[in-house]
C-alpha cells in the first residue's frame, strides 16, 4: 500500500511542480490517515503525556524503516539506555540487537546528568550535531528519532541558547534530508513542555492516553500536516504483542459493492424462512434475544456451517471463553474444535471492560486484517457498556469494515426483558440487514423459545413466529400454533393440539349420533306406518265381517219370511 502511495505521489509530482514526498511508517492505519506517511526529509513532532507510547511509536518507525523499506535509522535517546530500549521493544517481537549488528540501526543514548554539569561561558550544541551526524553517516541513515530532546532543558541552564540551537538542529536535519521524529512531553496549555512545536511545524502528531470509566484508550491525532491533507479525527491505536496499529475510521463510505450470493445460516429451517435461503454474503445480521434463548447457538451454527464449507471464521467472544463455547456447542451437536484445529476458526476472547470501545474496534480490525475471515461473529455486542453514541460509532465502523471486505458479520445482542430494546440494539438496528429476534414465551409454568425475522433487507422473508428447539443435533423449528389467543408454544401447543383432536372426534361422534337418530326415526315412522296399516287392515276385516254377517242376516230374514208365509198359508 505504501508502495502504491509512492507511485501515485510520483505521478502527481510529474504534473505538479513538486508534490510532498512521504515516508511510510509501516504502522498500519497511520500511513492511511496521513495519506502515505510522514513528510520525507522533514522533522515530525510526536507529542503526548508520559506513557503514551511515544518511544515505541518512534522505535516502530525506525524498525519498520530498516526491515520493510530499506531505510536505516538512528535513534538518539535522551531518556532510556540502549539496552532498556532493546528490552522494551523485544516485547513487541523486534530484535533490535540484530539490526544494530547489521548496521541497520544505531542507538545512541545521550546521558545528561545535571549534577555533573557546570556552565561557564558561551557554548553551543555542536557536539550533539557532530555526534548525530556521525551516527547518520556511519550507516547512511534515512530516518532519525530524537527521544525526547526536551531532556536537554533539564540538563542545561541557558534555555535561550538551547532554543536557538534546537531551531538550528531542525533546520540541519532538513538539510540532511532525513525524515525525523522528535518526541516531546505534553506540557500545560501547549503541545510540548518547552514549546518546541514552534520549531517543528511540518507535521505534528499528538498521542493521548485517556481513562474513561476506568478504561484506558490510546488515541492519536494528526494536529497538523503542512502541505498535505490528513485525517483530522482522533483515532484509537493500540500497542500489544503485534506492535502498534492505528485504526483509521475513515471507512464511513457506503460505496462497497454488494453480493447476491446467499450464505446458509446453518439452520435449514431458518434458511427456509429467508427468501434467498440464507443471508446475503457481506451483510450484517443481528441476533437479539433474552438470556438463554440460544443466541450463541445460532451464531455457532452459522460458524459451523461456514467452516464446514471451508470458509474462515473469526469469533469474537466477550462473555465466554473459547473453550467454554466449544464445550457448550458439543451439547447441541456441534464440533467446533475440529474447525479450530484445521485453522478455519479462530476465537478472540476479551473482556469488554479490558479496553474502551475504540480499542476493541482497533483490535478487531487488526485481527480481521490478519486472519482474513469470510465470516465474523461478535458475541455479544451488548457486552459493551457506555454512551450509546460511542457504541453506535464503534459498531458502525465495524459493520463498515466488514461490508467493505465482503465479510458476513453476525452480531448477537442480549435484550433486557420485555419489549424494550437495549442501548446497543437501538444503536445498531438501522445498520443491520437481517434482524432475528429470539423470544421467550412464558405461559403455563414453562418457557418456550420462539423466533421471528424482524427484518431482512432485500429479500422476501417469513413473517411468522416460529417455535424452535435446541436439540442435541442442532436447532429445529416447530410450527407454532397460531390460534385466536395468539401463539401457543410448548405444552400449551401440545394441549391445544390435543384439544383439537378431541373436538374433531366429538364432532365426528355427533354426526354419527345424528345419523343413528335419523335411522331410528325412520324405523319408528316405518313402524308407525305399519301399525296404521295393520289397524286399517283390522278395521277392513271387521267391516267385511260385519257386512258378511249383515248379508247372512238379510238372507236368513228373507227365508224366514217366506217360510212364515207358507206356514200362514199365504203360499197359494
Amino acid at each position: 500500500m505504501a508502495a502504491k502511495r509512492k507511485n501515485t505521489d510520483a505521478t502527481a509530482s510529474a504534473t505538479r511542480l513538486e508534490a510532498l514526498r512521504k515516508t511510510p511508517t509501516g504502522i498500519k492505519g497511520l500511513d492511511a490517515l496521513t495519506l502515505g506517511g510522514l513528510p520525507t526529509g522533514r522533522p515530525t513532532l510526536l507529542c503526548g503525556a508520559a506513557g503514551c507510547g511515544k518511544t515505541l511509536f518512534a522505535m516502530t518507525f525506525l524498525i519498520n524503516g530498516s526491515t520493510e523499506f530499506g531505510e536505516p535509522g538512528v535513534l538518539m535517546s535522551f531518556e532510556e539506555r540502549a539496552r532498556d530500549l532493546e528490552t522494551n521493544v523485544a516485547s513487541l517481537g523486534y530484535d533490535v540487537a540484530d539490526l544494530v549488528q547489521r548496521k541497520q540501526l544505531v542507538i545512541d543514548h545521550v546521558y545528561i546528568e545535571r549534577a555533573e554539569i557546570e556552565e561557564s561561558g558561551e557554548y553551543d550544541l555542536e557536539g550533539l550535531f557532530v555526534r548525530l551526524g556521525h551516527a547518520i553517516d556511519s550507516i547512511g541513515a534515512k530516518r532519525v528519532v530524537l527521544d525526547t530532546i526536551e531532556a536537554l532543558f533539564s540538563g542545561l541552564d541557558d534555555s535561550a541558547i538551547l532554543r536557538a540551537e534546537l531551531r538550528r538542529l531542525f533546520a540541519w536535519l532538513k538539510d540532511k534530508g532525513v525524515t525525523a521524529i522528535i518526541t516531546g512531553e505534553r506540557g500545560d496549555g501547549q503541545l510540548t513542555r518547552y514549546g518546541i512545536e514552534e520549531y517543528v511545524s511540518d507535521c505534528v502528531i499528538l498521542l493521548d492516553n485517556r481513562v474513561e470509566e476506568q478504561v484506558t484508550t490510546r488515541r492519536l491525532r494528526v494536529v497538523k500536516y503542512r502541505g498535505s491533507s490528513h485525517g483530522t479525527n482522533e483515532y484509537p491505536f493500540l500497542i500489544d504483542e503485534h506492535g502498534i496499529s492505528v485504526l483509521p475510521i475513515t471507512s464511513a463510505e457506503l460505496g462497497h459493492s454488494v453480493s447476491q450470493e446467499a450464505v446458509p445460516t446453518g439452520v435449514s429451517d431458518l434458511d427456509d424462512m429467508l427468501g434467498i435461503h440464507g443471508f446475503f454474503r457481506g451483510s450484517s445480521i443481528l441476533v437479539s434475544g433474552l438470556a438463554g434463548t440460544g443466541k450463541s447457538t445460532f451464531a455457532s451454527s452459522f460458524v459451523n456451517a461456514a467452516c464446514g464449507r471451508g470458509e474462515r471464521c473469526l469469533y469474537f467472544a466477550f462473555e465466554e471463553s473459547p473453550d467454554q463455547i466449544v464445550r457448550n456447542m458439543t451439547s447441541v451437536g456441534m464440533n467446533l474444535s475440529q474447525h479450530v484445529e484445521r485453522g478455519l476458526l479462530e476465537f478472540q476472547a476479551a473482556r469488554p471492560s479490558l479496553y474502551g470501545f475504540e480499542m476493541h474496534l482497533a483490535r478487531m480490525n487488526r485481527d480481521i486484517e490478519e486472519f482474513a475471515p469470510q465470516v465474523i461473529v461478535v458475541d455479544p455486542i451488548s457486552a459493551f457498556r457506555g454512551p450509546s453514541f460511542e457504541i453506535h460509532s464503534t459498531l458502525v465502523r465495524l459493520a463498515d469494515i466488514c461490508k467493505s471486505k465482503g465479510i458476513t458479520a453476525l452480531f448477537t445482542s442480549l435484550s433486557t426483558s420485555g419489549e424494550q430494546m437495549t442501548e446497543s440494539e437501538r444503536s445498531v438496528s438501522s445498520l443491520m440487514d437481517t434482524w432475528i429476534s429470539l423470544k421467550d414465551m412464558e405461559a403455563n409454568g414453562e418457557r418456550n423459545r420462539v423466533l421471528y425475522l424482524l427484518k431482512s433487507r432485500g429479500m422476501n422473508h417469513s413473517k411468522q413466529l416460529r417455535e424452535y428447539q435446541l436439540t442435541n443435533h442442532g436447532i429445529h423449528m416447530v410450527d407454532a400454533y397460531v390460534g385466536p389467543d395468539g401463539v401457543l408454544t410448548g405444552t400449551a401447543r401440545i394441549a391445544q393440539e390435543a384439544r383439537e383432536r378431541e373436538a374433531s372426534l366429538s364432532r365426528k361422534q355427533a354426526t354419527e349420533r345424528r345419523r343413528r337418530e335419523v335411522a331410528r326415526k325412520r324405523t319408528a315412522v316405518e313402524r308407525q306406518i305399519a301399525e296404521l296399516r295393520a289397524s286399517l287392515e283390522t278395521e277392513e276385516t271387521e267391516v267385511e265381517t260385519l257386512i258378511e254377517q249383515e248379508e247372512t242376516r238379510e238372507l236368513s230374514i228373507g227365508s224366514e219370511r217366506s217360510e212364515m208365509a207358507s206356514i200362514r198359508g199365504l203360499r197359494s
Binding site: 556552565e119 561557564s120 558561551e122 557554548y123 553551543d124 555542536e126 557536539g127
Partner: protein, 107 residues
C-alpha cells in the same frame, strides 16, 4: 566512562579533556582560557588533551558530549563537565574542585 586505565597517574593528578569544534573563535577562546587556568592552578599536576570533535566524532559518544566546548574532568573523581568557553574562571575552578587563587573559600 570513567574506567579508563589511569593507574599510571600519580595521586592528585588532573586528567582533563577539552572538546572543541575546529578553530572557531569560541574553541580558540576555550583553549586559551583552559591553558591559563591550568598554568595558574594546576602547574605540574595535570594532563590536558584537546579533542576536535570534527576530527574524532566517535569521541563524543564515549564521553557523552553534547555541548561544545566542554571540559571533562575525568580524574580525580567524580567526573565533571564544564561547558562553555570557560570564560567564567570562578565556575571552572568550582567545577574542578580547586579553590580559586586569591580567595580562601570554595565557590
Amino acid at each position: 566512562m570513567t574506567d579508563h586505565n589511569d593507574s599510571d597517574l600519580p595521586e592528585g593528578q588532573y586528567k582533563l579533556r577539552l572538546f572543541i569544534t575546529g578553530s572557531t573563535p569560541r574553541s580558540t577562546r576555550a583553549i586559551e582560557n583552559m591553558r591559563r587556568i591550568c598554568a595558574e592552578n594546576l602547574e605540574g599536576r595535570y594532563d590536558l588533551e584537546v579533542v576536535d570533535v570534527y576530527q574524532d566524532p566517535e569521541a563524543t559518544k564515549d564521553l557523552q558530549i553534547i555541548a561544545t566546548p566542554t571540559l571533562v574532568k575525568i580524574l580525580p573523581e567524580p567526573l565533571r563537565r564544564i561547558i562553555g568557553d570557560l570564560s567564567d574562571r570562578e565556575r571552572v575552578l568550582a567545577g574542578l574542585d580547586i579553590a580559586p587563587l586569591g580567595k580562601g573559600d570554595h565557590e
